[in-house]
Symmetry: C2
Subunit: 357 residues, 2 copies
Amino acid sequence: MLDQTIKVELSTTKKQKPNADQLQFGKIFTDHMFIMDYTEGKGWHDPRIVPYQPITLDPSSVVFHYGQTVFEGLKAYVTKEGKVQLFRPEKNMERLNQSNDRMVIPKIDEQFALKALKQLVSIDKDWIPTAEGTSLYIRPFIIATQPFLGVAPSSQYKFMIIMSPVGAYYKEGLNPVKILVENEYVRTVKGGTGTAKTGGNYAASLKAQEISSQKGYSQVLWLDGIEHKYVEEVGSMNIFFKIDGKVVTPELSGSILPGITRDSIIQLLKYWNIPVEERKISIEEIYEAYDKGLLEEAFGTGTAAVISPVGELLWKDRKIVLNNGETGPLSKKLYDTLTGIQYGTVEDPFGWIVTVE
Amino acid sequence: MLDQTIKVELSTTKKQKPNADQLQFGKIFTDHMFIMDYTEGKGWHDPRIVPYQPITLDPSSVVFHYGQTVFEGLKAYVTKEGKVQLFRPEKNMERLNQSNDRMVIPKIDEQFALKALKQLVSIDKDWIPTAEGTSLYIRPFIIATQPFLGVAPSSQYKFMIIMSPVGAYYKEGLNPVKILVENEYVRTVKGGTGTAKTGGNYAASLKAQEISSQKGYSQVLWLDGIEHKYVEEVGSMNIFFKIDGKVVTPELSGSILPGITRDSIIQLLKYWNIPVEERKISIEEIYEAYDKGLLEEAFGTGTAAVISPVGELLWKDRKIVLNNGETGPLSKKLYDTLTGIQYGTVEDPFGWIVTVE
Ligand SMILES: Cc1ncc(COP(=O)(O)O)c(C=O)c1O
Ligand SMILES: Cc1ncc(COP(=O)(O)O)c(C=O)c1O
């Protein structure tokens, strides 16, 4: 597949690009998109870059009924010198295939998909905003398109990549968030689909998210679905705690998403010789550490925010304020380093950056 | 909403109807479909019956990424006298709204939706096959259509009803199925979305289903996601066991779908004075009952098959054959009675039948 050429149909009219202050996550899309089709027996075929446009599907398509779908999320950054950079994009393609495996969707050729992604970014590179902290969000996804109401893996799919220019996540420096520890609703459980990036996990989270925002909390911290005891992850972020000088994060136990930011942070911490542990962490342990004055910092990690410091936690009726509701020094240092690597202002000792020609 | 008229645009060309022996579940659709749109602030609007046709959506539509979708399934039957009958359709609309609540989708007006459904069935009534055991499968569903990549409830939706003529589930009498008791994968867990009819639950089931069919089993019996101990339900059916003269079925504990066939069977059994219990049932209890010679019958229940007798169970490496792999007398009696009511050959003492004019 790797040698296949991607047919390109350029858009004859160009959409107007938004001003830097009009950028909203995931609402405006670039001039082009990538599509390729899968048909049983034929495999993935007809890779093409075409003008961004609606897609037409039969109302009986599997995706509308049985949620057979996976997705990824990554960003393209432009450096001061005008170079276009991606951050560990091969990891996204690898994870997409892991999600495919869980959701019984045919694997893609990861290298080919990365080639297509780069070509698309290159064609729409004028869409990458240049103001500080802005970037181009890239959304590869696969949907099941067979027109058939049986509960069975689809025999047809579409793999698509769409892109949206996004503003700076933090307008005035890192902004700690208030997080509610969810005790009733569950996102997923071991043996379920939590390790995959698939629609149903996010649909399942909407109800708890709605209740928490009514209470004034911006995110939900999920506990394990079995005992409601161990910390799992936040909305669309993994979670880290700094306790008594050591950094801890939940292990990849089979129900949380293996975040690429999470992995990068673990590598960075090790590189800095800061002790870091991946293990089970009960919510009780966090509260005990707080009571003993040992809970120094907590932060979420993910592609969108990179680092999201936690300013407050509410578990049942116990509210705790972390680090006076301010961003801790480790959160700040991790944020500066990771974004520095992404925007090319900090050296990349790990070979994480992939340049787009 | 109830008084709103439904705009009708009839199809100018009629598709050819399949022969009775060509009927395949969910592959061929009738000439028309129902659509209505939801927009935040405006509510559900523009209800219309139009020729069956593809729908066009932005690739960033919420349903493609975050699986915010719900559905229902019911059937229309034609009696020997040519009357068109529905079976407890108000229950499907009620359950659709329960699913909506869990998935943070705006409620529909149940009576209006039922009116729309009846009008659609009436327009396409020539599509209801008349051969024994055949029917018209009706699929109401809602998809989230806002073009926005944020993980949040969509501000736009489409409610649609499509219909497919389906063949007899059993060509030559009730046919017992072989079922694998799933020990590793989980469909959903308490606090999750198991009580809702939403895409993600079905997507989550595909992997286990694939493995079980490779082993020669046609369905998976799910155990609870917490202890892998209690029986929950089968693929798209609830499950009943007859043990020592008593009928037992898992209680609605917050992780299984409240089946309408399940409810009807419980009512029928009570009407017949056959003892029936809704409670926790461990898979061990089933195997112990078998060892003592007390496991008389087991059967799945759902709209598609009505009753699906279980001929064999495999749990870990223990295979048990029930009732010599044959259909038991209670399964048969329930099947005959329920289908009799549905096709109008048996009296309906419960007021379950709704006639379409
Ligand atoms: C559920 C969930 N957890 C964690 C993450 C963080 O993953 P990554 O660091 O790869 O963006 C995401 C976001 O993509 C997510 O959706
Ligand atoms: C998961 C699941 N359980 C049970 C059922 C049976 O429900 P009903 O009897 O309402 O068809 C279905 C089918 O609709 C289902 O999808």
